[in-house]
Subunit: 472 residues, 3 copies
């Protein structure tokens, strides 16, 4: 059997119709090499702060930390233990990276037609020079090839950061996190900034709420005995984040129902948590919603862009949560009601063109029904890129099809890669750039956009929009 | 710099694939010049009733009255005051039409990829002979060009009405409105008829409920002291509307939950309003729902087509509402439940093929899930054209894709332009005709519709369906 | 007037773009003649068990039993009585099959652009050799042509079963149904198996609950005096079904909210029904949900694939229900919440790769938002084919577009025809095979799937997936 040679299609993500394809190619040629603006993601700061950091092996790089990868394998009966995903209680899991890699390669066909498959293919071929489709038969050869590259100095994270052409990258950091890595990177001139994500202390029912609060107390030098102290501590940390270049905050909420509480009620909820009570999910939501309105006020003052991610029902599978912890692929979307939920926040702050609020949804039905009409009215609002499950070619198509007619493209916040998987950054941006250019090409060829406007619009979607939304 | 010449693409709205495009062109050629049937819209009757009426200037014609236009500019930080949108309390706003026009032109790029952009382009080029893209640099020249045309007799509303080839046009009129303009037009042989929209008196919490009721009393010559009198007054007005050619009524409801009340309860709600009480939104909805069922009964008797528009959360932005009033771009869609909400009404009247009920939604998720299955069963039901935010090329594609397989095209109510912007009428119909022909062409070329049936189906969608649904 | 010759497009369901079409053709050529796997449908077992059974006439074959057909005609004012749909109380309806057929043909244009139209066209041309479009003028000739064929021995159901290339077909059978026809078919070597559908006894508010329970008692030889006896009877029947080759159960629920009850509460509900009380719809749902969890336990034990169909609001139109009974075209979809509704069931059983749960929805908004994320995580889960109103070319497109990126194709359960209309089986599978190949071709030509993987994926979607999901 002759091994099939694995190659990347230069025209991937482009429509097959020749006129559309030609125009998509031309638009893409102008944005392909623009620097990458990465205003929202989950790369570990330590990885970049330490100039000597390296990626240990293919499994630790590509499998273990990527819930997109192991959820698909798990869905087809592969135990997460076999993929080396660490357990909370330290129960042993597969520790041989090569064994993990073989299991992954034996199931690589599962990723056909998925964005994960598209990203992995581009990474393996472009970054690591792989020339064979992963399978049981090819697993070892591919492993060795990747390992060889990872051992080379030009594959250290810092080296890749430069090779990737990253203009700026934001990490995501808890309110009490140590920002020493960011300070070091600032010192070294590396354009990596933190993002302020106080979810851990504002969701009173967070698993590690007390630990997060302790960290916040320590970093802010404020003893948090009540509501005023909490917000004082958060204000100080916002200032520190900003000094290190942060331009944004990030917040996750199950639903967009964001209403204020009477102060005494918010205070009572906080006191309950402080005294070791166990706030209910509903109390958690009410307190968090109240706090979000304070965060919006602070954002108007300090100019940080406020991001809200809504609609993920976390830890749907208790067994997985109990055994492996958070973010292990068992978060599931729900329907949301932005129109009524966000009314209070938007009525208080949405008219302010200096306030910047970026929204992310997992309920695509709200793109055209709610988000585009809201963004096409409120000056503060920008629509975040298609998120998570929708960070995909068809997900982007649906997003652009559904939001643009009502909100235009200038109310969009551009792209962000939102990734934990550092080597996937370029290909994720590339998929967006290709898909956006193809969408523009289709729209132009259908006579709905002037051809002359195409290049400027492509550049906006690929690069300018993110800088504008995040004030980078 | 050579100015770029601005031209209309003859093939706009058509798919680029050559076979599809050829067939779309051929289908379109047969419907392009059919007369315009406009069974639902918001043109001011006075504009057409007065043969000497004229449009004062470009800003008053195209900017100030069009919330599609100023909401987009507002969303990008342009104050509505700068666009001359009048305030409720008379606070001064920009009054120089040329200054307003310049602001608009400087932001014209915001409309790229939007239906508003498509309509404006067609109007500016086809109707006003503009040859340059609006921008700061070209604003004054374009202003002068349009003004020159507006000053000419052949650009008076009446002249345009004929040039547009309007076969019949329905305005939208409150229950207590003076229909003298319609009588005059009837006298003059102008095919303009009223539509009966009693929302103002049936929504007990309407801002100007008392004034609307007074007007209804005066016009109907019925003193409205209770429920029976109210419906008697409405019945009389329906008769008057019908005498002037009306064939339809129109009703807006936040949700489709339409249930009857015990008579004494409906009476009590009305009495509360009559005595100056302030009905709650919930009371408003319950009374209105009850009244809708009465309206359905009357419609079965007098044969008027009943239209219900559902899912618009009005005046979302209180600041805008307070300052500028109703219909200023801050109405936002919500999800709705037609299946359960409309069950009572459909069970009582839906089996009657002589009753005609046309539904409009802002929740596209209900097209395939609820509206098409309902219309594919109940004889009384017809599906209204894609409405408001979805009166767009992609909005029409989604509509046809989602309703036709289940409801067929003969349960559709065709197109209506629903516009306040008189000069946009032809281009709105043209976009529908083009897009419907393209959709047919795609479906035929995919082997799903017999090519021989195309022309008849195109004509149905472009012209016959609206006449049938509204019994014009 | 020359009659137009009616022909089938060999390329139906394929995209017009030439490269896509060529690839779709090539993929389709490899799956077109694969045997048909029919794991879920509503063919009457008696039809196949009796080797001498025949179809009486065109109206009894194609019109009367097919709610897809008569609902569309009813929606346009044709009384169901005129189509021979039998009434519950025996009120006379049209009994002349030729008169029924004429009414159908006179309205055949209503099916333009619908899947029913596509199926009927393929059946009429391919199976019956019809060469004219049905219309008033052609009705009689077509009737005679079909009747001629139906009278021939090679058009008996058994003969067609073989001609269609059906590898295995599952019927749908109530818990208390007589399985003698299945035993006879097993004896005769005909691959027709039952499916266990206990809805009639588990929905306590079913119209004929008592009769269904009596039948279950009789068949299982268990006197059902309480909960334990009920589940014992069901367990025995499951065993009997399995002996006759059943590999699946089927369950319908209005919503996916499936929560257990305390045993005493479930017992009390059952006792209420047993003693002749009238359980409310809400009690019906709670008991059924409780029972579904027991069914899931049994399924893990006996290995039967569990199917759940959710979101159909049955008998929306009371008038039709009262007069004509169940399944008469007045069932309407509603929005559903799988994520929260199914959490309990999935937490208890979803991690088990040996348990097989197949879900069907009428709320397409849940494809990408809920179903694909759930199926892309839980090992037990497979997504059922696009169901009912969405068993259509565009319905399949939307399904594949929305589920594949997140769930991949290996978490799909393939196709099932779900039909009562025996002669439509081949064309329904054919539409799926064509549409799936076209979807693959488009995805490949867009550079998102490796061309080399196409044939295997086409075969999976056309054939292997259904066998895997149903363990055929």
């Amino acid at each position: 059997m002759t091994a099939r040679r694995w190659t990347l299609d230069d025209d991937r993500c482009f429509s097959p119709e020749p006129r559309v394809r030609d125009r998509a190619r031309a638009l893409y040629a102008e944005v392909r090499d623009l620097p990458l603006v990465c205003p929202h993601g989950h790369v570990a700061p330590a990885l970049l702060a330490d100039p000597d950091a390296r990626f240990p092996n293919p499994a630790d790089l590509l499998i273990k930390p990527d819930h997109y990868v192991f959820r698909m394998l798990y869905s087809q009966g592969v135990p997460m233990e076999a993929l080396g995903v660490p357990t909370r209680d330290g129960t042993e899991v597969e520790s041989d990276p090569r064994a993990i890699w073989r299991t992954f390669c034996a199931h690589f066909h599962l990723f056909r037609g998925t964005p994960t498959g598209l990203w992995l293919k581009a990474e393996l071929i472009e970054l690591f020079g792989v020339e064979e489709v992963p399978s049981e038969a090819t697993a070892d050869r591919i492993y060795d090839r990747i390992q060889e590259r990872l051992d080379a100095p030009e594959f250290r994270p810092r080296a890749l950061f430069e090779r990737f052409g990253i203009e700026t990258l934001a990490t995501t950091d808890q309110a009490g996190d140590d920002l020493a890595p960011h300070a070091a990177m600032r010192e070294a001139g590396l354009p990596v900034v933190p993002t302020f994500r106080p979810d851990g202390v504002l969701h009173l029912a967070s698993e590690d709420w007390r630990a997060q609060l302790d960290a916040l107390e320590a970093r802010s030098d404020v003893q948090i005995t009540g509501l005023d102290a909490l917000f004082e501590a958060l204000a100080r940390r916002r200032a520190t984040f900003r000094e290190l270049g942060a331009t944004a905050t990030d917040h996750a909420s199950l639903t967009p129902e964001i209403e204020p509480l009477p102060t005494h009620e918010a205070e009572a909820l906080l006191q309950k948590a402080l005294s070791g009570g166990a706030p209910t999910p509903e109390e958690d939501h009410r307190f968090h919603a109240h706090a979000l309105l304070r965060m919006a006020e602070m954002a108007r003052e300090d100019g940080m862009t406020m991001q809200i991610h809504v609609g993920s029902f976390r830890n749907h599978h208790r067994r997985i949560h109990r055994r492996f912890g958070l973010d292990k692929g068992a978060d599931m979307p729900i329907a949301v009601d932005w129109t009524r939920g966000l009314r209070t926040l938007l009525n208080e702050h949405g008219h302010d063109p200096d306030f910047r609020l970026v929204l992310f949804t997992l309920d695509e039905a709200t793109y055209a029904r709610e988000l585009a009409p809201l963004a096409g009215h409120y000056p503060a609002l920008r629509l975040g890129a298609p998120w998570w499950f929708f960070d995909s070619v068809l997900g982007m198509d649906r997003y652009l099809d559904r939001v643009t007619e009502t909100a235009g493209i200038y109310n969009l916040a551009g792209f962000n890669d939102d990734t934990r998987a550092f080597p996937s950054i370029p290909t994720r941006h590339d998929v967006w750039r290709r898909t956006a250019c193809d969408w523009l090409a289709r729209t132009i060829e259908r006579g709905l956009i002037d051809a002359e406007d195409g290049p400027e619009m492509a550049r906006w979607l690929a690069y300018d929009a993110a800088k504008a939304a995040y004030r980078v």
